[in-house]
């Protein structure tokens, strides 16, 4: 008996005004692959928070204003020191970041191995960061995915290649290299290898090597690192990572685990780092989690030289749409929470990253308690624009803006910024930190 002929799906007969109809229809066609941005964009698009989503449009840091005072006692002090009226170029930008002397309150944050952060861009960023005298973080996965580079022929692609690129142009006495390791990287012993490598000895001897424990990241807090890899690479990585064919085609989603942390696990991991690598600094990278302040306190108490916080708006890597739009605290809120729990003159180092590229946002973060800001996507775009000078140019402009802003606030060192320099139109966020608020 012949089967009845099935009728064609009757699309576009229903309408649903005020409902995300197109998105639902896209998902009905694509299935689980629609949890992600289009894989066609992978390698060209730097992800991070969706700028169209309501939370990003109402960003706390964007809403805050820097507000100069009329009375400027610190300018008077500077006037006395200089015996002339101070100008914006008198603002000192040099500072200490996580145990390193840095020419500016900036560092290049980790790009990871995501394809957009290609080898060439990573090397270019490294060279220019070295020249600028600012620290650079080398992301997890660079070694497991691109190798270490000591014995391999393609040393340029490797972790060691990136370290060399930085060292070759490093400003004497400034900056440093920070090597990240995640839970899966432990299998490859990234830190042990770097720490025992003769090539890295100059950095160790000049106190310019740090290891960053990656507890989480901005774009997808609660998840581990994600990249798309081809079938061949997937086979090689199958032992260590979750490989998910969810996107179809010949691309496979490679996921790290987020790693399991309790207060005790974090505390002991940091102590073990200090025990095993006494000549390296210890950095800890936190996700924009709801307990970010507690985690920062645990990390500092255990001896971390720096805690970096990646806001939900941060990230260069691949992430599910739901995370880009709906998950994690914005950086401003992270800084407020940490500032609330921190003693006013706490000397521990706090670093912030998430949509940093110009002076005002950096100045606001410094005023909220950060010691420096990390350039991620901005650094990649800058070296993509000009591999020889792009990052240097971007940073020179940012540095000038910082000098303008800090001097306008009547201060002459970036570390002198504090919450009194900020004004918030909404009082809700002001009680904790001494930020001015109320009618303009």
């Amino acid at each position: 008996m012949p089967l009845p002929v099935r009728s064609r799906p009757k699309e576009r007969i229903l309408y649903a005004e005020g409902f995300p109809e197109a998105a639902i229809r896209r998902r009905a066609r694509a299935g689980a692959a629609d949890a992600f941005p289009s894989p066609d964009d992978y390698g060209q698009v730097l992800f991070g928070a969706d700028p169209d989503c309501p939370a990003a449009a109402d960003d706390l840091l964007d809403r805050l204003r820097l507000v100069p005072p009329v009375f400027v006692p610190q300018r008077l002090a500077q006037l006395v020191e200089l015996a002339r009226e101070p100008m914006y170029r008198d603002v000192r930008l040099e500072t200490t970041i996580g145990g390193f002397r840095s020419a500016l309150p900036l560092y290049v944050s980790a790009f990871g191995s995501t394809e957009a952060a290609s080898v060439a861009l990573g090397l270019a960023a490294g060279r220019q960061a070295g020249r600028l005298g600012i620290p650079m973080v080398i992301g997890e996965n660079v070694m497991p995915v691109n190798s270490y580079g000591r014995l391999e022929a393609d040393a340029e692609r490797s972790l060691l290649g990136r370290i060399r690129a930085y060292q070759a142009e490093a400003l004497d006495g400034y900056g440093g290299i920070v090597v990240q390791q995640s839970t899966e990287d432990a299998d490859a012993e990234v830190w042990n290898l770097v720490y025992s490598d003769p090539n890295v000895l100059p950095l160790l001897e000049s106190g310019r090597l740090a290891f960053e424990l990656k507890v989480g990241q901005g774009a997808k807090p609660g998840l581990g690192g994600m990249t798309l890899v081809g079938a061949e690479a997937a086979e090689r990585l199958a032992d260590a990572y979750l490989l998910d064919p969810v996107l179809g085609g010949d691309r496979v989603l490679r996921s790290s685990s987020p790693g399991t942390f309790t207060e005790e696990i974090l505390r002991q991991q940091i102590r073990l780092m200090r025990n095993n690598y006494p000549r390296a600094k210890v950095w800890v990278k936190l996700p924009p989690a709801r307990d970010v302040s507690t985690a920062a306190q645990v990390a500092w108490a255990a001896g971390a030289d720096a805690v970096s916080v990646d806001g939900a708006e941060a990230g260069t890597g691949w992430a599910p749409r739901a995370f880009l739009r709906h998950v994690g605290l914005p950086l401003g809120e992270c800084l407020l929470r940490i500032g609330h729990d921190r003693a006013p003159s706490d000397p521990s180092c706090l670093l912030a990253s998430g949509r940093m590229w110009e002076g005002a946002r950096v100045a606001k973060c410094l005023a909220l308690g950060a010691n420096a800001a990390g350039l991620g996507r901005a650094a990649l775009l800058a070296v993509d624009t000009d591999p020889d000078h792009g990052l240097v140019n971007l940073v020179e402009c940012l540095a000038l803006e910082l000098q303008f802003l800090v001097s306008a606030l009547g201060k002459y060192h970036v570390q002198a910024l504090d919450p009194e320099d900020l004004w918030s139109p909404t009082p809700a966020s002001s009680w904790a930190t001494g930020i001015g608020s109320g009618p303009a």
Binding site: L151, T183, S196, P198, N199, G259, R267, R271
Partner: protein, 335 residues
Amino acid sequence: MTETRIPETEARLPASPREHLTSPVTRSVLRIQHRMLTAARELLGARGFIELLPPVIGPVTDPGARGAKQVDVDYYGHRYKLMTSAILYKQAALTSFDKIFFIAPNIRLEPLETASTSRHLAEFHQIDIEIADASRDDAMAIAEDLVRHVVQQVVAELPHEFEALGRDTSGFAELIGTPFGRRTHADAVADLRATGHDQNPDAELDWVGEAKLSAKASRPFFVTDYPKGSRGFYDREDKDRPGMLRNFDLIAAEGYGELCSGSEREQDYATIISRMRETAENPAKYAWYLQMLKDGVPPSAGFGLGLERFTRYVAGLDSVWQASAFPKVPGIASP
């Protein structure tokens, strides 16, 4: 190949394997070491220990090695490791016998700062002991008896070798005749800090600090109760004093430093998983060991006594490489 730069080291390394192997000093040292091994086997055999041959490679090895890199081996496409120590296998072996030991070769690509400590080799051997249903005190008692017996035997039997090396063995009278001292890690830290040495209270005694304490001693002594965060996941945490481990080091006298590390072992599956995370390990790669724990291994205590370090102390050598026929000093490419 990349260029390798090695720090200046005080050790005067031999120019060639021939120069080292034919030197009268090396010959005396290796004769003493040979007799030390025989004496160790005598004592352990008499105490009911079974000697097993140690594994050389495995999917995982001891991660508690203070920043040293493990050596990867491509084992039919799987990443295997040369043993940094056979601790995990020692625990497993207790399902076969109650008292076991290995004379085990270990490989650790140590950080380069260890090239100038005079007591690190990238390739070395341990007299590696594990005892089922034993406490830390039991393990320390065996370690003390073992060191005493070995020293007694070689001093009595090889006076000419010691004479040739210029080693005055009368200094061992106290080691032979008096029980070894004991102090806690916290006490050792306080002692060092009181002398202006900036010892991290949460970490292992650093190389300089350890040598200072060792130099003040006239016979070996134990340091107990190291803090969590300074050791591997298998050292048992004291349930009455959280953060404190039921472990010990044995430190030689005369500045020769650490000879031996040991502990009561953790063997509870869930506790080990948490401890692995605290030591930044990925439990996934320890599958065989975790299955072993799930199915049950006896509670135990044990230690590893560094053979070349012990030889250096007994023979009174400047550097530990002199106690190896084929020395590998960290960072230095040698045969």
